[in-house]
Symmetry: C2
Subunit: 367 residues, 2 copies
Amino acid sequence: MQRKVGILGAGQLGRMLALAGYPLDLHFRFIDPTPSAPAGQLSEQIVASFEDDQALVRFAAGLDVVSFEFENVPVAAVRKLAKLLPVHPNAEALETAQDRVNEKSLCLKLGIATPAFAAVESEQQLKSALGVIGTPSILKTRRLGYDGKGQAILKDPQDAASAWQSVGGAPSVLESFVHFDRELSLIAARSESGEIAFYPLVENHHRHGILRKSIAPAPRVSPALQKNAEETSRRILEELKYVGVLAIEFFEKDGKLLFNEMAPRVHNTGHWTIEGAETSQFENHLRAVTGMPIGSTKLRGFSCMLNFIGALPDTTQLLKIPGCHVHLYGKEPRRGRKIGHCTLLADSHQELMERVALAEKLVQDDG
Amino acid sequence: MQRKVGILGAGQLGRMLALAGYPLDLHFRFIDPTPSAPAGQLSEQIVASFEDDQALVRFAAGLDVVSFEFENVPVAAVRKLAKLLPVHPNAEALETAQDRVNEKSLCLKLGIATPAFAAVESEQQLKSALGVIGTPSILKTRRLGYDGKGQAILKDPQDAASAWQSVGGAPSVLESFVHFDRELSLIAARSESGEIAFYPLVENHHRHGILRKSIAPAPRVSPALQKNAEETSRRILEELKYVGVLAIEFFEKDGKLLFNEMAPRVHNTGHWTIEGAETSQFENHLRAVTGMPIGSTKLRGFSCMLNFIGALPDTTQLLKIPGCHVHLYGKEPRRGRKIGHCTLLADSHQELMERVALAEKLVQDDG
């Protein structure tokens, strides 16, 4: 019965996976170059680079299945592991999600709306692309971008040189800048047998490119909008023969959704599911990758998650707020770093917003 | 911020404490003579007897607070540890709860109704006590009894000799046998500052002296009955200056409660609180012993917990039941052994009972 799951990456996502998996008698081995990473504090961890082939072999020994909590693991490492044992999600899904051009090209193929985009590999190509995409637009590195890093906004074609410099001349994508009304995300889980479950759309608030707040369910979402998001997710999940949890971030503009990006893993905008849904995204990811049935994604009231960025709030005061649940990741505070979060629960959206207002007075992040 | 909690005993209760504490950045060290005990599988464990003084000193080093998940730890060990660091609940509470005569004597002192009882230390005393208590009655060892072990029912005064033999001649208590209508229990948590929170009364079903099922909230409980249970608990908590979670088991007879026994720890009849209450008994115990505020005990729907005794059910089938949450303890199946549980949640008592009926077809225990 007891199964052992290997996870590439041992950050807070891995930590919350382990906490969700222990009750199902799943055991874990993580691999991560950082000693005493959040997940390593409560599970076995191999401290090694994802590019260390010998470490990968040691990592794989005795595991039943491999997954990842970090989409920037080398695809080569995942392909090597996939020769030894099942890896979910698969390498193709990882490769697609790692690259902004690949994921948007997949959208084109599947008829999913995205902002206008063009791949650029040189300053010259950037200038040509600007002729098509226009300004304002945004230049993003194709790979390794997260939390707003590796991005530059172009207000004018003359910004091309500085933008190209600020992405370090890396292969990039130029996207039309969308004056969106809000950002929404959808978390879905697909099992090996093809069963799919969706959580409701969540409304996300970023500052300086870092997620600060997610409200679940997102207010003012029509059944048609939810259905549209689910249909988008379903097409991608089925096209990629995806197994596990997939997060898709959307822009909402004039009541329509535009695909922004996806993450082939459990996601910060799904942390509220630990308390706010019948089954959490972490448990559902593990159920999917170990061949168990997907659990109900039914809501348990109204939820809002607040990230703790760079500084720890007074958790004793936070815990006095009704419906407040605190999650700390065992990380040292550092500027711009996600070191924990809290999820507030309530029986109505209004009660939720009152609790969030109390919590936001305590959750003072670092900018 | 990070605090380290030491727990005497590393069984499933300790395991669920660790799982509830990690999100609060609590770290754990367990001491237990059984290697790879359930909690030791996901935390630091010192494998040693509770009577090994040197091991206790090693155990205490660097801890912020000590608690226990097992009430049969030697009081002497707790007193030794209490000289080194805070121990919650305190040694007096432990000593009281370990001994059926002590706990019932406390009830007498506090005006709490119990079945008639008498301490007996010899067969001769048993015979005298039978003259007062009468039959049917039940002889129980004062200490170390759990899951129905160390008990004998006397239907007739002539059963005295065999009953005395079946408790091994250990110091015991003779209690009037109560033809109760049902068994109920109350879980409460008290903080260092004296704040107390109660969960609702739970209805418990035993077979062969082992808990099989708990229904929360217990159906057909009047506000007066709940209030009576809470008042009983409050008197005991305050009298003992108790810090942590306390469980009290009651008999209900003709609409009145009789104190049966108490456990100075998180309790099997409170496992449903992981999903069924806003804050679980495990988190509230940890919040109490580490000086954090007690969390809301508000219900999140209707819950029923089923123990897995001696055999593992088909968890894949179980997980297909809506609202079913599975908890496995990492223990080898063995006759009469609690190796896991599931909690079913629903939006109404009737829906809950339908789900329980489905689950009970799968949870086939060993007798």
